[in-house]
């Protein structure tokens, strides 16, 4: 059935600011808007009188069905629909088809509107894809990643964050980030952000900082927090929070052991010095007291007038000398006070701890090898004192290799019948045969800054454990200090 369109209507349709087509009941084009031609890439083509399906052979069956239904009187629309062209191009469309009627009231064909929002949709898809990618990246990050806005509200909360803090992401989105902080930060955090926004003064942004954080279960724990800021339309702060509980426990354990060892080493050095000084000074004091005593006797036997007075003065000198001796003795007693407090300790563990401390600052300069026997087990020892022995031996070994081309330190343990054997082997200058017996005496040192009491203390500790310490030659060069402890 042919329908007459006047020119005015044609022009009206052609100029319509949307994609619009009018077809007859056989789906032949009666009139189309320029926009329709533009949207579907048909610029310049004359499609009047051609069938819609001839122009768009790729129209899927589902749409053909819709058109049939519309020709039956229905008005059908879709807000978002995808149209795949035969050349692979995709159109994202909002469309509507509705029948038009002849003056006689019968259906004369269809009005087809479409709005192509492919560009927007593609941007959306790209955005969604990049967001998914970003999200996957953040979730793969082993440290907690949290983004907040300028009001401190949480915008994203990574998978590691849920594991670290115990909250789900759903619980956290929109919440104030201060719920992850213990006091006083909890109350002050809003102020921190405000102050930063007002002054631009960076206090925590940029620099990794150790702070306390709060888990959902109320536990306060240490984190290493790094904050970065970026502007994405608005200001966004990203926090990277690493749970350093285990690291801190290790650090603390090491620091405590180190402090204890230093204290023990100071006491040990003092004791060793006091013992040596007491002996060395006591000799001249004895000579002085005896000489004075002799003088007193001689004066008293003599005929001089003031013999009694002089004798009394000399006796006073003797008692002062005795007092000096007593002071030294007390100092020695004080330093000797530390008793060995033995209990069962895992030898390998103690050696690992002591090595960690002794090797601080040596990392990289010396190749360290541990050969710890698996069956070494425990021995009845004073933990601190044996660690002191180990740190002394390890530091000596490192010092001995100062000028060696090859710096290799081997720390080994082994269980033998009735004893545990601990060896510290270096590739240093070695110890000459004659020095091997002397080296344990106090004040024997070749180090300008050393007191020379380290090995004396080492031996006295090993003695107190009923153990023995041996010096062997390392092959091809260097020395091996071997400590045998009863076990």
């Amino acid at each position: 059935m042919a329908v007459q369109f006047d020119l005015g209507l044609h022009q009206f349709v052609e100029e319509a600011p949307c994609a619009l087509a009018i077809v007859d009941a056989q789906m032949r084009y009666l009139s189309v808007s320029r926009r329709w031609l533009e949207d579907y890439g048909l610029d310049g083509a004359d499609i009047h009188g051609k069938s819609h399906y001839e122009v768009f052979p790729e129209v899927p069956e589902r749409w053909r069905e819709i058109n049939r239904r519309a020709l039956g009187g229905e008005t059908i629309s879709a807000n978002e629909d995808e149209f795949v062209r035969s050349d692979g191009r995709r159109h994202w469309l909002r469309w509507e088809v509705k029948p038009w009627r002849t003056p006689q009231g019968s259906i004369g064909g269809l009005l087809m509107f479409s709005h192509d929002f492919t560009k927007r949709k593609e941007t959306e898809i790209a955005l969604a894809e990049s967001e998914a990618f970003r999200r996957a990246t953040i979730d793969a990050c082993p440290v907690a990643v949290i983004t907040i806005d300028a009001e401190g509200r949480i915008m994203s909360f990574s998978r590691a964050a849920t594991e670290t803090f115990g909250y789900s992401e759903a619980e956290m989105i929109g919440a104030n980030v201060n719920c992850l902080m213990p006091e006083p930060d909890h109350s002050l955090h809003d102020l921190y952000i405000r102050r930063y926004l007002e002054t631009g003064e960076r206090r925590i942004i940029g620099q990794p900082r150790k702070i306390r954080a709060l888990r959902k279960n109320g536990e306060i724990f240490p984190i290493l927090l790094t904050i970065r800021e970026f502007v994405d339309g608005k200001r966004v702060f990203v926090g990277f929070a690493e749970d350093i509980t285990s690291q801190e426990v290790t650090d603390q354990h090491l620091a405590e052991t180190q402090a204890q060892l230093q204290h023990a080493a100071r006491l040990g050095a003092l004791g060793e010095m006091a013992t040596s000084i007491a002996h060395e000074i006591n000799q001249p004091l004895t000579a002085a007291a005896s000489l004075a005593g002799a003088a007193s006797l001689i004066v008293r036997k003599s005929a001089i007038a003031a013999a009694g007075e002089a004798g009394a003065l000399i006796d006073e000198a003797v008692s002062e000398i005795k007092r000096a001796s007593e002071i030294i003795h007390q100092m020695r007693e004080f330093a000797k006070k530390r008793k060995t407090a033995k209990s069962l300790h895992d030898i390998n563990k103690i050696i690992e701890d002591a090595s960690a401390i002794a090797l601080i600052g040596v990392e990289g300069a010396v190749k360290v090898e541990f050969r710890l026997g698996e069956d070494v087990g425990a021995a009845n020892i004073d933990r601190l004192q044996i660690q002191q022995v180990m740190t002394n031996l390890i530091r000596n070994a490192v010092d001995a290799m100062k000028d060696s081309p090859e710096k290799r330190l081997t720390i080994s343990t082994a269980r033998r019948t009735g004893r545990v054997e601990i060896s510290v082997a270096d590739t240093g200058c070695g110890i000459a045969g004659g020095m091997k017996s002397k080296i344990f005496e106090p004040f024997q040192t070749d180090k300008p800054e050393g007191l020379g009491v380290g090995l004396a203390i080492t031996r006295s500790i090993v003695d107190a454990h009923q153990g023995e310490i041996l010096i062997l030659d390392n092959n091809p060069q260097g020395a091996v200090f071997q400590v045998n402890l009863p076990a």
Binding site: A278, S290, S296, I328
Partner: protein
């Protein structure tokens, strides 16, 4: 001349000083710089009215080793050990090894002469172990209460009053009181004498059980 004193010490100043004191106090001292040089000279030495005064700690042969050596070669000269001040354990060990007495360095003229005279008179009466009359000491020690004995055992081990107080669950002041009472009861004039008396008494009472 009160007696011969063979003085052995590795420190030249000590030899000189103690030698001068001995001479001034009318003894006849002979000085040796080591136990070895003394042992070399022993065959030619006059052992009558003689005492060996030897330092406990010397390079080479030490005082206690010399003691054992003298016993081994049958030289019956009383030996007095000189110890560092406060080294009670060393003194106790030396006495168990056969020293007749010990002197804490530095010592006064009185401390030295009374120790020497005691040793000489005991040697003269040919009772090397009897000069201190352990029987008499034992009678005095028997007057001690069980608590005083506990305190005595600890302080003779060289422990401080504070440590003794901690070990026995007493206050340091109480330990001090016990200590003074002990000294008074056994009539010890000094701590060194208390140690000496304790060691001699315990050796005398150990002897029968050991001599089986």
């Amino acid at each position: 001349m009160r007696g011969r004193v063979y003085l052995i010490d590795d420190d030249a100043a000590v030899l000189r000083g103690v030698g001068a004191l001995l001479a001034a106090a009318n003894y006849r001292p002979t000085a040796f710089g080591s136990a070895e040089s003394f042992l070399d000279a022993v065959p030619d030495l006059d052992r009558a009215q003689a005492v060996v005064l030897v330092d406990v700690c010397m390079p080479g042969m030490q005082g206690p080793q010399l003691l054992r050596k003298l016993v081994e070669i049958g030289v019956a000269v009383p030996v007095i050990i000189m110890t560092a001040h406060g080294d009670i354990q060393m003194a106790v060990n030396a006495m168990r090894d056969g020293a007749v007495d010990f002197l804490e360095k530095p010592f006064s003229a009185d401390e030295l002469t009374s120790a020497l005279d005691r040793a000489l008179s005991a040697a003269a009466s040919n009772e090397p172990r009897a000069f201190d009359a352990p029987g008499e000491y034992r009678r005095r020690f028997e007057a001690l209460t069980p608590r005083e004995r506990e305190v005595l055992a600890e302080i003779v081990d060289g422990r401080s009053s504070k440590a003794v107080a901690r070990d026995l669950g007493l206050s340091p002041r109480t330990v001090e009181v016990h200590r003074r009472n002990i000294m008074a009861k056994v009539e010890a004039s000094s701590f060194a004498e208390l140690v000496r008396m304790t060691v001699l008494t315990s050796m005398a009472s150990e002897a029968p059980t050991k001599g089986d």
